[in-house]
C-alpha cells in the first residue's frame, strides 16, 4: 500500500484524471467507432460527482439525461471490485455495489478512485453484518431506563405513604 494518510471517503468528489485516460483508451479500442463512443465518455467524466456521507453515498452524472443515485450503506448486499488489465496499469478499479433489487446489473459502479481498496473496505465496514449486532445494545439501554424509572416511582410512593399512619 502506498497511501500513508488514512483514506477519507468524504473527501472524494470527483473521479481521478486517470479515469479520463481509461475512457479514452477504451474508446480508441473500438476502432472507427471511437468518435461516437468517446463523446458520452467525455460527458460522463466531466459530470461525474460522488458524495460519501456517514449514512450513504450518492453518485450523479449526465448532461442531457441526468442521473443521480442514492443508496444507504446498510442496504448493500454485496460489493464487487473488478480490475481489468488497462485499469490495473492505470491504478484504477470498478467497485460495483449491489442492493437486493431485481436486476443482476450492479446498482452503482464507482469508477475512477485510486484508493479503490480502501473505499471498498470502507463500504464493507458500513455494510450489514460486518459489525456486531446492534440488537443487544438497543434492547439493554431502554430496558434499564424503564427499570430505573420504575424504581424512582416506587421510592417516591414509599416516601409519600410512609409518614401517614395507617390503620
Amino acid at each position: 500500500m502506498r497511501r500513508m494518510i488514512p483514506f477519507d471517503p468524504s473527501k472524494v468528489e470527483r473521479p481521478n484524471p486517470a479515469l479520463l485516460k481509461y475512457y479514452i483508451i477504451t474508446a480508441l479500442l473500438t476502432g472507427p467507432l471511437s468518435v461516437f463512443v468517446i463523446l458520452p465518455f467525455l460527458f460522463k467524466y466531466e459530470t461525474l460527482r460522488y458524495k460519501f456521507d456517514s449514512e450513504g453515498m450518492s453518485m450523479s452524472w449526465g448532461i442531457l439525461m441526468r442521473r443521480e443515485i442514492y443508496l444507504t450503506y446498510r442496504r448493500i448486499q454485496d460489493i464487487h471490485l473488478t480490475r481489468n488489465i488497462i485499469q490495473r496499469w492505470l491504478g484504477l478499479a470498478t467497485i460495483s455495489v449491489q442492493t437486493a433489487s431485481g436486476s443482476s446489473a450492479p446498482e452503482v459502479s464507482i469508477e475512477g478512485i485510486l484508493e479503490a481498496d480502501a473505499l471498498r473496505d470502507f463500504l464493507y465496514t458500513k455494510m450489514r453484518g460486518a459489525r456486531e449486532h446492534h440488537d443487544e445494545e438497543h434492547v439493554v439501554a431502554p430496558a434499564d431506563e424503564a427499570l430505573s424509572l420504575l424504581r424512582e416511582i416506587r421510592d417516591s410512593l414509599r416516601r409519600q405513604i410512609q409518614p401517614e399512619s395507617r390503620p
Binding site: H80, R83, S96, S104, G129, A130, L150
Partner: protein
C-alpha cells in the same frame, strides 16, 4: 524422463507467472478482509484435488480432440502418402498447442483464485485478465448450496454456491456457472465444503433480519423479571 518434462513445465509456468505478476499487475498476495479485534481470517486456494479435477477434465476433452486429429491424419496419409507426410508438423502443432495453452490456463486459473473467510464475511478473488473480488457478509446470504458431481466426489471436492437477495441473470435455480450473476459467490473446488456451510449457517441462524438490508429489530418492550418485581413492590406499597 517424465520427471524432467514435469520440471521443465513447472519452470516454464513459473516464468509465465512471473511475467504476469509483473507486466499485468496480477497481485501476488492473497486478498485480506478488514477484521474486528479477535477475529480470525482464513485465506486458502481451492483444494489440490480441484487442480487434478480440472486437468482430468481437460485431458479427457483433449484425448477426444487428439483422436480426431490423428485419425484424420492417418486417413489422409493412407490416401495420399505425400500430403500426409508433409502435413505431419501441422498435425503435431494442432495437437501440441492446445495442450500447452490449456495446461497454462488451468494453472493460472488455479493460482489466481483465492477464498478468504472471516467469522462474518467472505471474499472471493478470481480471474487473470479481469481480476474480480467479491465481498459478501454472511448476514446477507439467503441460501447456501453445496454441489458435487461424481468425479468431484472422487477427488473429494465440492462447490459451495452462496446466494444473496436479488435477481439472477436467468438460468434457473442452479443456473449458469460463469455467467455474470453478481448476486452469487462461488467457492469452486473446496475440500471443506460442509465446514464452510456450517460456518455460514450458524451465523445466519443467529441473525433475526431477513438479509434484505433491513435494520436490526426495534427494541423489545417486554417486561423483564426485575421490572415485574419492582411493579409488585409498587402495588404492595399502595395497599
Amino acid at each position: 524422463m517424465t520427471r524432467n518434462v514435469e520440471r521443465a513445465a513447472a519452470w516454464m509456468y513459473r516464468g509465465v507467472w512471473g511475467l504476469l505478476t509483473r507486466w499485468f499487475r496480477v497481485p501476488e498476495h492473497p486478498p485480506t478482509l478488514p477484521t474486528l479485534p479477535g477475529e480470525t481470517l482464513r485465506s486458502f486456494r481451492p483444494a489440490e484435488g480441484f487442480l487434478r479435477y480440472l486437468k482430468l477434465k481437460f485431458w479427457l476433452g483433449l484425448a477426444v480432440f487428439t483422436v480426431l486429429i490423428v485419425g484424420a491424419w492417418i486417413a489422409l496419409t493412407a490416401a495420399r502418402p505425400w500430403i500426409g507426410v508433409w502435413l505431419t508438423p501441422v498435425a503435431l502443432a494442432i495437437v501440441a498447442v492446445p495442450l500447452v495453452l490449456g495446461y497454462l490456463a488451468i494453472h493460472l486459473r488455479y493460482d489466481s483464485t483465492w477464498y478468504v473467510l472471516s467469522q462474518r464475511s467472505l471474499r472471493i478473488r478470481s480471474g487473470i485478465w479481469t481480476i474480480s473480488e467479491a465481498t459478501i457478509t454472511f448476514e446477507n446470504i439467503q441460501n447456501v448450496t453445496v454441489e458435487s458431481g461424481p468425479i468431484e466426489r472422487f477427488f473429494n471436492i465440492a462447490n459451495v454456491l452462496v446466494d444473496t437477495a436479488g435477481g439472477s441473470s436467468g438460468g434457473g435455480e442452479h443456473g449458469t456457472k460463469g455467467s455474470t450473476n453478481l448476486h452469487r459467490g462461488t467457492l469452486a473446488g473446496v475440500s471443506s465444503a460442509p465446514e464452510i456451510r456450517q460456518l455460514i449457517l450458524s451465523r445466519l441462524s443467529q441473525s433475526k433480519a431477513s438479509g434484505l438490508g433491513d435494520e436490526s429489530l426495534p427494541p423489545a418492550t417486554g417486561w423483564s423479571v426485575e421490572h415485574v418485581a419492582v411493579l409488585r413492590e409498587i402495588r404492595d406499597a399502595l395497599r
